[in-house]
Symmetry: C2
Subunit: 348 residues, 2 copies
C-alpha cells in the first residue's frame, strides 16, 4: 500500500492506494465484526470494494458506516440465510429473510442461470431484502457470461411522483447489462430519480449545492440545498412524467411483483441508526443467442459504435471500466481519512 | 352516425360521431382495398380504431394515409403470414415476413400465454416487422388477462443520442401493463424521445411550434420548428443521458435481440411513399401471481392510490380510459374532413 501526503499548493488531501484484494479483506473484517456471517461478508465486501474500485464512490466505502449502523441497530440480519423457492421452469422467488440482497442473489444465481439456459429467459423475484449498494454489480456478471440482464429495485420513499407533493418512490434504479463482442459489456445503472441518493448524501456532507431542478424541500418547494432534500424534502423523478412512470414501474416490479415492501411502507423507526431499505428486487435474465440469434453480441457492439460515431462521447460504464483498470493496476485510491475511518470500523 | 356542422363563433370544425364497430369496418375496408389480407386487416383496423377511440390521435386514423402509402409503395406486405419459431420453454421468435407487427403478435399470442402459464415468464422476439401504431394496444390485453407485460420497439432513426449530433435511435417506446384489482390495468406507453414522432407530425401539419428542448434542426441546433425536426433534423431523448440510455436499451432489445434492423439500418429509399419502419419488437410477459403472490393486483391498486394521494393528478392511461368510455357510449368523434379522407381512401 502506498501513501501520499497532502500537497498543500494543490490542496489535495492525503491519499492511500490499497490493492483491491486487500480492500476486500478489510471490508470483510468490518462486516464480520458487526455480525455478518463469513459467507455473506465475503459477498458484501467484494461488492462494496468493487464499487470503490470502479469509482462508484456513492456506493463504495462511503456506505460502510451506514452498513455498520444498520447492523448495530438490529434492523438487518447480516447472518440471514436466504430461502429459495423454485416456482416454475423460468421463475424463482427468494425470501432474503431480512438479510442483504447480494447474498440472496448469490444463493439463487446458479439456479437462475440453469433456468435461463433451459428456457431462454427466467426471472428471480426477491423479497425481504436490503439493497444498499449500486445495481450494476448485480447485472454485469450475467453479461460476462453472455446473458442480457435487467434488474429493478425499490428503496425508501424519497422521490415525489410527477406533479405531486410528497414522496412515494425510492430512487428506484434500473440496471441493464448486455454482452458485446471483444469489449466489456454495455452496462447502465440509473436511478429513476433526478439524482442518486448517494450523490445527495455526498453533496450534503461536503456542503455542496445540488444542481437546480433535482429536489424539493419539506414544503414541496424547489431547492438546491442537499440537506433540505435529505431532511424532510424529496427528490424529483428524472425526465418529468416519463421518469415518474419508470419509478412507478420499478415500484411495481421491485415490490408488488416480488412480495416486498413498497418504498414508503416499511417501518424502521424502532431501529435507531437503520439506513438500509427493506424492499424487494427483480431480475430478468435472457439468453440472447438462444433460437439462433448468434450475431447478438456483435450487433450490440455495432450499435454502441454507431452511438459513439453520432457524437455521444461517453457511454454508461465507460468511466467505470477505465477506473477499474487503473485501480487494478495501481491499487484503489482512497483518502487517508477514509482509510482511518475503515480501520476504526474494523476495530469498533 | 351523427353529424354536427361547424359552429362559426367557436370556430369548431364540423365533426361526425361514428360507432366504434363501424369505424373498424371502414378501416378494414381501406386495408383490404390496399392489399392487406382479410385476417390482417381485421387486426390492423381494430388496432387503429382503438387508438382513435381512446384519444391516441397521433396513432389513430391520422396514420391511415401512411399505411396506405406504405402499402402502395410495396415496402410492407399486408398479406404476410408470420412464421412462429418455438425456441424454448419460455422463448418464441417470430419472423413477421415483412408484414405488420400486430398480426404477427396475434399469431403468436396464444403460444406466448401458454408458455407464461407453464413457466412463469416468457418472451416473444419479433423481427422483420413493421410497427406503425401505439404500443399500449399490444400490452394492455395481457394485463386484462392478469399478466404483467413489457414491450420494446425501435423505429426509424430520428433521435440523437445524448450529446450527439446525428440520429441513431428511433422514438423507441417502452410500454408496460399491469393488472389492478377492480379497476382498469395500469398501462403506460412512452417514447424514449422527448416527443412522440406522431405529435411532431401533427404539429407540423397544423403549423404549431414544438415546446423548447425537444428537437434539433439539420445542423444539430435547437429548434421549435416541427418541420425542421422532420426534415433533416432530429428529436432529443427525454430526460437527458438517462432517457438516451433507455433509447439505447430499446434498440438492443427491439433489434439486436430479435434479429431485426436497427432504426438507422433499413433502406426504404427504393420504395417511394414508404413510412412504416421495418425493425423488431420484444415482449416480456410475466404471470405475477405464480409462486403464491396472490395479492399482486391489489398491491398495484394500493400503489397507484398512493401516487394519487401524493398529488399526481393524472396517471398514464387515465385519459385513455375516460375517452374510451365516452367513445363507446357516444361514438368516436372525428372531424368531417377526416371522415371524408377515410371514405376517399376506401375508394382509392
Amino acid at each position: 500500500m502506498s501513501v501520499s501526503t497532502a500537497n498543500s499548493p494543490a490542496e489535495q488531501p492525503a491519499t492511500v492506494k490499497i490493492p483491491f484484494e486487500k480492500l476486500v479483506t478489510l471490508l470483510e473484517s468490518i462486516f464480520t465484526r458487526h455480525g455478518v456471517s463469513a459467507e455473506n461478508a465475503k459477498i458484501l465486501a467484494q461488492n462494496c470494494a468493487s464499487c470503490e474500485r470502479d469509482g462508484s464512490h456513492s456506493h463504495g466505502i462511503f456506505r460502510m458506516p451506514g452498513y455498520v449502523s444498520s447492523l448495530k441497530s438490529g434492523w438487518v440480519d447480516g447472518a440471514a440465510v436466504p430461502v429459495i423457492e423454485d416456482c416454475a421452469g423460468a421463475m424463482i422467488r427468494v425470501d432474503a429473510k431480512n438479510g442483504f440482497a447480494q447474498p440472496a442473489l448469490a444463493a439463487a444465481r446458479a439456479l437462475l442461470i440453469e433456468k435461463v439456459r433451459a428456457n431462454g429467459i427466467a426471472m428471480l423475484a426477491m423479497r425481504r431484502s436490503h439493497h444498499f449498494s449500486a445495481l450494476w454489480p448485480d447485472v454485469e456478471p450475467f453479461a460476462d457470461e453472455g446473458f442480457v440482464a435487467l434488474s429493478f429495485v425499490n428503496s425508501f420513499a424519497c422521490v415525489v411522483p410527477h406533479g405531486g407533493h410528497s414522496a412515494v418512490f425510492g430512487t428506484n434504479p434500473v440496471a441493464f447489462a448486455s454482452p458485446q463482442k471483444n469489449e466489456p459489456p454495455f452496462v447502465f445503472d440509473q436511478a429513476s430519480s433526478a439524482l442518486a441518493n448517494g450523490d445527495v448524501q455526498i453533496a450534503a456532507r461536503e456542503g455542496r449545492p445540488l444542481p437546480a431542478g433535482m429536489g424539493v424541500d419539506g414544503q414541496g418547494q424547489p431547492t438546491t440545498d442537499a440537506k433540505a432534500v435529505l431532511n424532510g424534502g424529496a427528490l424529483l423523478p428524472f425526465g418529468g412524467h416519463k421518469g415518474s412512470s419508470i419509478a412507478l414501474m420499478v415500484e411495481i416490479l421491485g415490490a408488488a411483483l416480488t412480495g416486498g415492501f413498497f418504498s414508503g411502507e416499511f417501518d424502521w423507526s424502532g431501529h435507531v441508526g437503520a439506513q438500509t431499505p427493506k424492499t424487494g428486487q427483480l431480475f430478468i435474465v435472457i439468453d440472447p443467442e438462444r433460437g439462433g440469434n448468434t450475431m447478438f453480441a456483435e450487433r450490440v457492439s455495432q450499435l454502441t459504435a454507431l452511438v459513439r460515431e453520432a457524437g455521444q462521447e461517453r457511454l454508461p460504464g465507460d468511466r467505470r471500466f477505465v477506473t477499474r483498470q487503473k485501480s487494478l493496476a495501481e491499487g484503489v485510491t482512497i483518502s487517508a481519512a477514509e482509510y482511518q475511518r475503515l480501520l476504526g470500523l474494523s476495530a469498533d
